[in-house]
Chain length 498, copies 2
């Protein structure tokens, strides 16, 4: 066996453990009986620690050191594969076991307190624990190391190569333009989306979700769609991708767009090159790129006029009582209603990023220490008033709404907006490469779009950084401009503005 094959065999076994962990995690959120929570936590903990043990083992380090002497070209699959493996080993090795243990305990505790604080609308309860979390992530950043800003160390875990220095100007531009657009839309006649709140039978919703996921290209031979309370996508492996959605009788948008969103995530995993399976390149490269795929299918496809030109008659046939009197145009307007609201996960395309930018700006100053945790509610509410024109009536509907910080996921939020920005820049490039993509959507044919995404994004797994992927796929670096221009042209037209 060559040294490379020996390395691959070793790494593959660790991947098998990760895949097993993935199944334990999927099952926990979908089918696990309630009384199994404690024993499941134990199984997850044992597998996690075994994965950490094998990832940072002397054998792994020796194999990588031997292979480093082979001098594979930096840009070859082998070169990239070894670099990615080295990155995992380094990241896993940088955090002392004792610190990982402390962080893990504090996360469990904070998540618990957060649930209570949110339920009781009591920020005071949460304050002390959140302060401890920020102390710990500051230490984490020090362990991981950074050149310019501690935030970079944290954010890089989710978005390789992305930095505060690059995010700040891009996000500032996006914020200004979005706030301006939102003000303009506020002056126009508002959209009535009452038709989305009629009663839609959930079993029929399920059939529609499956039909739509299949239509846009999700592969059910290598995947499943199940109901859940908090929708997510989880790959067990690229050959076994599980997506979930939530069926709410009088809020049809939840399953309809949720399914397209998760199918977008799922198709990314399904599209990673077979050759990378069980290897260091066989994973999606970043949360931002992942979100670009889900948002592309949710919004650029799912909330487009072209998609519904093709699919609306079928949807009407599924729900004649609810939709036979509603025109395509009225349906299209209803699913694209813009309205500033308090809750991130319910936000429309225009306002969504403002929710993210607020969180990004706040976690930055919390990490720097220039904002005290005690001052968070006031700072949060001020920003909601300034950017969205609304003030949360309670912290439960304000700074207590997300689970992320209680789980020490600082540096994670920006990936949502990065995904949005990428989704438009990629979709524009896809249309340049295949001008027929929108006409095809009307016909119910999504193959050119998927095949372009497979070629430019999916197949590469973790071979390229997010920045490299965007540059190669679109011919330019990531910018907010295509997204800003898309929002303006779509929503000004929808609201009958210039």
């Amino acid at each position: 066996m060559s040294q490379l094959d020996e390395f691959k065999a070793y790494y593959g076994r660790v991947e098998d453990l990760k895949q097993s962990l993935n199944l334990l995690s999927w099952d926990q959120h979908v089918y696990m009986p309630q009384g199994a929570a404690e024993t499941r936590a134990q199984q997850l903990s044992t597998l996690s620690s075994l994965i950490h043990e094998y990832t940072t083992s002397q054998q792994m380090k020796d194999l990588l050191a031997q292979l480093a002497r082979q001098h594979y070209a930096e840009d070859s699959d082998e070169g990239r594969l070894l670099a990615r493996a080295q990155r995992s080993v380094d990241q896993a090795s940088k955090l002392p076991a004792e610190f990982v243990e402390t962080l893990s305990r504090q996360r469990s505790k904070t998540a618990h307190v957060w649930l209570k604080a949110r339920a009781e609308n009591n920020f005071k309860l949460f304050e002390k624990e959140l302060a401890k979390i920020y102390d710990l992530v500051r230490q984490q950043a020090d362990y991981l190391g950074y050149e310019t800003h501690p935030y970079d160390a944290l954010h890089d875990q989710y978005e390789m190569g992305s930095t505060v220095a690059a995010l700040k100007p891009m996000f500032a531009e996006l914020r200004e333009e979005t706030v301006e657009l939102l003000k303009a839309l506020g002056t126009a006649e508002q959209i009535d989306d009452a038709l989305m709140h009629k009663a839609y039978d959930t079993e029929k919703q399920r059939q529609v979700s499956e039909e739509v996921a299949r239509r846009i290209g999700f592969d059910f031979e290598h995947g499943r769609l199940d109901p859940t309370v908090h929708p997510f996508a989880q790959d067990i492996s690229k050959y076994d991708v599980r997506i979930t959605t939530k069926y709410v009788e009088n809020w049809f948008a939840s399953s309809l767009f949720g399914t397209m969103h998760e199918a977008g995530h799922g198709m990314y995993e399904q599209g990673i090159a077979d050759a990378y399976h069980r290897g260091p390149l066989g994973a999606a490269v970043s949360l931002g790129v992942h979100e670009s795929q889900s948002r592309l299918y949710e919004n650029l496809v799912g909330r487009s006029y072209a998609f519904w030109q093709g699919y609306y008659p079928r949807l009407q046939a599924h729900f004649p009582a609810q939709l036979s009197d509603t025109s395509l145009d009225d349906f299209y307007r209803a699913i694209n209603k813009v309205e500033p609201s308090l809750i991130r996960i319910e936000a429309d395309e225009v306002t969504y990023n403002l929710h993210i930018l607020i969180r990004f700006e706040l976690e930055l100053v919390l990490l720097e220490g220039s904002l005290k945790v005690a001052e968070l509610p006031e700072a949060w509410n001020e920003k909601y008033e300034a950017y969205l024109g609304i003030t949360p009536p309670s912290d439960a509907l304000g700074c207590l709404q997300d689970v992320h910080w209680s789980e020490a996921l600082v540096g994670y939020f920006p990936t949502y907006t990065l995904g949005n920005l990428m989704s438009v820049q990629l979709f524009e490039a896809a249309k340049r490469a295949h001008p027929g993509i929108e006409a095809d959507m009307v016909q119910g044919d999504f193959t050119k779009l998927l095949s372009w995404l497979r070629d430019t994004i999916h197949q590469h797994g973790s071979k390229y950084t997010p920045a490299e992927l965007v540059q190669k796929a679109t011919g330019q670096a990531l910018t907010a401009k295509p997204y800003i221009s898309y929002l303006n042209s779509k929503f000004r037209a929808l609201y009958g503005l210039s």
Copy 2:
């Protein structure tokens, strides 16, 4: 940490891996997408080999050796726990890795060939591979070691302490009495069970299955019921027990009795003592004891008059069109129809054991070499004619029907009949302890029965051998007599014989 705690922590981690493997296996048979078969096999293989590695590691052996010097009393939990752990380590260590590999490859190959041979009704195709399997299990018996008969070494893997010498006379007595009873029943007026073959809506069957499982005591807080093609019970841990059943529109018995059967298996796992969780005593002790629990709930409860006195009105309410004209007595007779048939898994209570005894007698002579594999079909058909009075028209409906031998599971079949024998002996003892058990069943109250089984069987996990359990629970060693007497009294009455 004490040495015992250190051992428990180590062993607990291995158990977590086994539990993860259990979930991978359950999912494979219930929800895994088809295209994931190959990657799932790889995950299972990696986890199996890790479990083997940790079970036979020097660390495990050292921990056991240290603890052996503590001289825990043989009958204490600690003494038993260490003995069971030592048994697992010994068994796992006795088979050379190369042999395990060869056997595993031959099993995969034979299972594949078996499917083809059965589909094409071509025993010749299967013959050579089955001969290789028998060569390998003979070697396996030698590796495992035995005192009297190589069959004991194989059978002991599934039924600790059970031997050919003990099985032979017990099974001979059972065979003679059953054949005689069957002949007698053949002279009586036969039962018409056409009502079981009406169309029963499968969604309503599902509701009934869940209701019945809950009624008899299956704990859905720590378990699930899902649909599948080949029903089974699989514990992930005692806190997470998954049972499955098959809904066939015009064969209601499949889900009705199948669910009670699997719920019986499931309640055994759910009842193991909390203190044994993640330890060497935390598993069901044998397949025979397992089967005693499933058959007790399927037959002694599920096919009893008392159960249906209580539940039949509810069943009629679920299926008024199918059952409102059928009396309780006619229903009771229909679900207890006796008829010699070709297929083991479709057999009634009287004939079921004859199918098992035929297999036991044949695998014994195949292992001894006194019957050649080439002679199997003829020997099989002769025994079916002799014991059941019917001759299989094809090998597909004869000696090719079971998967067991192709998977090298020789010594496994007798556990089905051991389970049947135990089920009656235990049920009689339960009724002696709580004479109200049958009256309670009429009222829909199954708590006394379950609590007696919890006390005498379930909680003990692997602490006692099957023989010890039966002796302690019933006050005598296992014999075929209670079963023979149960069959005679139940079925002679049902068929209007003396």
